[in-house]
């Protein structure tokens, strides 16, 4: 009997060296790669929205409300990945009702819930004027839906709109902290485990926040670009330049901090460093290469775009290209962390190689499907609350 066996949804991982017998089935699969990845998109998209709503950076007006809807769509699907992974998802709410507060994970429901409420409130204030208009102009089944969404607040006078703007500004400001907190918290869930050498790093939560923002801004660039293409509307160049600047700023810090993480690890040469070298050169070598190249190349492209003040189709094309690369880089980073951490045996004497299942609850198809579903949900949200009518937004 070979080391490679199938157990239901799981593939038993081949290994070299010595690993504990129970380690040969990785506890966390590709679903737990997708979970922090989708959560990260929330943070980045929200930060862009807040740059407009809180700091009044006008260039982000075209994407500010789209960013809010994107953040909400991703926030709704992040826990789905987690729920799918649970052995008993029907007991998931116990983590909220009877949370065991010594657990680093116990607060997730509350943190995500708080952020979700905040996001819903901000969306409502940011879209209220549209909801009121749609409740009066739409026909058929949607009319009562919009009437319900007004929550009886149909006043669109200037003082009422000023009230909306004030609340949107406050919620967006609080949301910046909540977005960073949510994703830093996800990083802490990994970093707080002293049993996993690969995860147990003080820099982990910071890296999670920074890479989350990078991926979130990148996905917003793509969503904005694709939606504009579908709607046959021009892409706002100033907005794209603004997004390029945000992306560049967060990307350079992310690259520096991630590099520091590696430099520190190799310089300290703590026990187990040989296995870490084998891990990087072995099972996650492709992931590390993708993470490095797909981070550095967009950085060079973005630097050139900003330095040469590129505009027009070239700007949009290169921005889209950079965003695709960055989304892949951050996905690779999540893979390297979540899967790589488990491929490094707790014995410090062996390396496993995770082979993801294709089908089943823990399979790649399901995880990818969940990720795609968040975009379908975003499309539905954008149909319900069209974010591309800035005429209704008065700042």
């Amino acid at each position: 009997m070979g080391a490679l066996m199938q157990i239901s949804d799981y593939l038993v991982s081949p290994f070299s060296g010595y690993v504990y017998p129970n380690e040969t089935v990785l506890p966390w699969s590709v679903l737990i790669v997708i979970y922090p990845y989708i959560t990260g998109l929330v943070a980045g998209a929200f930060i862009v929205s807040s740059l407009f709503h809180t700091f009044h950076m006008e260039s982000f007006r075209p994407v500010a409300r789209l960013a809010l809807l994107s953040a909400f769509a991703f926030l709704c699907f992040a826990p789905v990945a987690l729920l799918s992974h649970l052995g008993h998802p029907e007991r998931a709410l116990e983590a909220i009702w009877t949370a065991h507060w010594t657990s680093a994970f116990a607060a997730f429901g509350y943190v995500a819930g708080f952020y979700g409420i905040l996001l819903v409130l901000e969306i409502w204030f940011a879209f209220r004027v549209d909801i009121v208009a749609l409740s009066q102009t739409s026909k058929g089944l949607m009319r009562p839906v919009y009437q319900l969404l007004t929550l009886g607040s149909t006043d669109v006078s200037e003082p009422a709109l000023a009230y909306d703007r004030k609340w949107t500004q406050v919620l967006a400001a609080v949301g910046i902290g909540a977005a960073a907190g949510l994703h830093g918290y996800v990083g802490f869930v990994f970093a707080s485990l002293k049993s996993r050498e690969w995860w147990s790093s003080d820099l982990m939560p910071i890296i999670f926040i920074l890479s989350a923002i990078v991926s979130g801004v990148a996905v917003l660039v793509l969503v904005y670009g694709v939606s504009s293409k579908i709607r046959k509307t021009p892409i706002d160049e100033q907005c794209m330049v603004g997004l390029a600047k945000v992306l560049w700023a967060f990307l350079i810090v992310t690259i520096v901090v991630e590099t520091l993480e590696y430099v520190e690890m190799f310089y300290r040469r703590l026990e187990g460093i040989d296995m870490i070298k084998r891990l990087i050169a072995g099972p996650i070598s492709t992931g590390v290469a993708i993470q490095a190249v797909f981070s550095l190349l967009p950085f060079v492209i973005l630097s050139a775009l900003l330095a040469r003040q590129v505009r027009g189709k070239a700007l949009i094309g290169w921005m889209s290209f950079s965003s695709v690369l960055l989304m892949c880089a951050v996905l690779a980073m999540r893979w390297n962390v979540v899967i790589g951490g488990q491929e490094l045996s707790k014995t410090a004497k062996g390396i496993l190689t995770y082979i993801p299942a294709i089908w089943g609850r823990e399979g790649v198809v399901w995880a990818g499907g969940l990720f795609c579903c968040s975009f379908v949900f975003l499309w539905a949200l954008a149909r319900l609350l069209p974010p591309w009518e800035p005429a209704h937004m008065s700042e």
Partner: protein
């Protein structure tokens, strides 16, 4: 730092350094905990009166793996080569090599050497090489004083009993596997049949009836020792008093309560 470790692990990490005072303190602190009523989950068993602990005498173990088989049968552990409540590691030092070769009954070569998945054995894979040193190390849940698995459980489904045993409530476990990640000893696994985490309970259903854990019961050479630290005449009390002992990965601060004799620094 050492003092801190000693305080949390009950036994200082160095081989031969035993802190019986710490053990006694751990025992008395457990019995003094007011939050536990005398009536535990098992009728006619007072879980505040005991302080269970486990010993492994590596110098005695012959690697027969009867313990592994008994555990699988006794506790309905899935008969596959990935899920174990207990296992046995073989450390072999070959001539000219300074690091041991380590394997268990779950190694593919040993699985191939066994007659069936329900049968466990170590293959004679080193018969053509010169072995300078070798020993077996039975492994199991360490039922730690400060268990990381209990700390991280988001619902409190895994908990420490006042008699020193770490248990899992499988009717409450949500199957998130965070505890599997947190255990530095690889003692936990996800049971696909129950969709919950599972691990060694020191056969709680047996010890609360005055019996020994199944693995201890079947061990033909008394390499596994179990007993009540509150009883100075118990096997475990005698074991820790009469042997230089060690615990695994003391630097984690978990405070393991499985005490090893006869292992070297390569065992982790």
């Amino acid at each position: 730092m050492l003092g801190k470790l000693c305080a949390t692990t009950a036994v200082c990490s160095g081989v031969g350094t035993v802190s019986l005072q710490s053990l006694a303190a751990a025992a008395s602190s457990a019995t003094a905990k007011p939050e536990f009523p005398a009536a535990g989950p098992v009728p006619e068993y007072d879980w505040t009166k005991h302080r269970w602990a486990f010993g492994v005498d590596s110098t005695r173990c012959i690697g027969c793996l009867r313990c592994v088989e008994a555990c699988k049968v006794e506790n309905h552990v899935p008969f596959n080569p990935q899920n174990f409540r207990t296992w046995v590691e073989r450390y072999v030092y070959l001539e000219g090599e300074d690091k041991p070769r380590v394997d268990t009954q779950a190694d593919p070569v040993n699985i191939a050497a066994a007659a069936s998945p329900q049968d466990y054995r170590f293959s004679n894979r080193y018969r053509d090489q010169k072995v300078t040193k070798s020993f077996f190390v039975p492994k199991l849940c360490n039922h730690c004083e400060n268990p990381a698995c209990v700390q991280v459980c988001p619902v409190g489904a895994t908990y420490k009993t006042p008699d020193g045993v770490v248990l899992i409530d499988e009717k409450y476990c949500i199957g998130c596997r965070y505890c599997v990640q947190a255990c530095p000893y690889g003692a936990r696994y996800f049971n696909e049949e129950t969709q919950t985490t599972d691990k060694c309970t020191w056969c709680y259903h047996r010890i609360t009836k005055g019996l020994k854990p199944a693995c201890v019961e079947v061990c033909p050479v008394q390499a596994r020792v179990f007993g009540d630290l509150n009883d100075p005449a118990s096997d475990i009390s005698v074991f820790v008093k009469s042997h230089p002992i060690n615990v695994l990965k003391p630097w984690t601060g978990n405070g393991p309560h499985v005490f090893y004799h006869g292992i070297d620094g390569e065992v982790s």
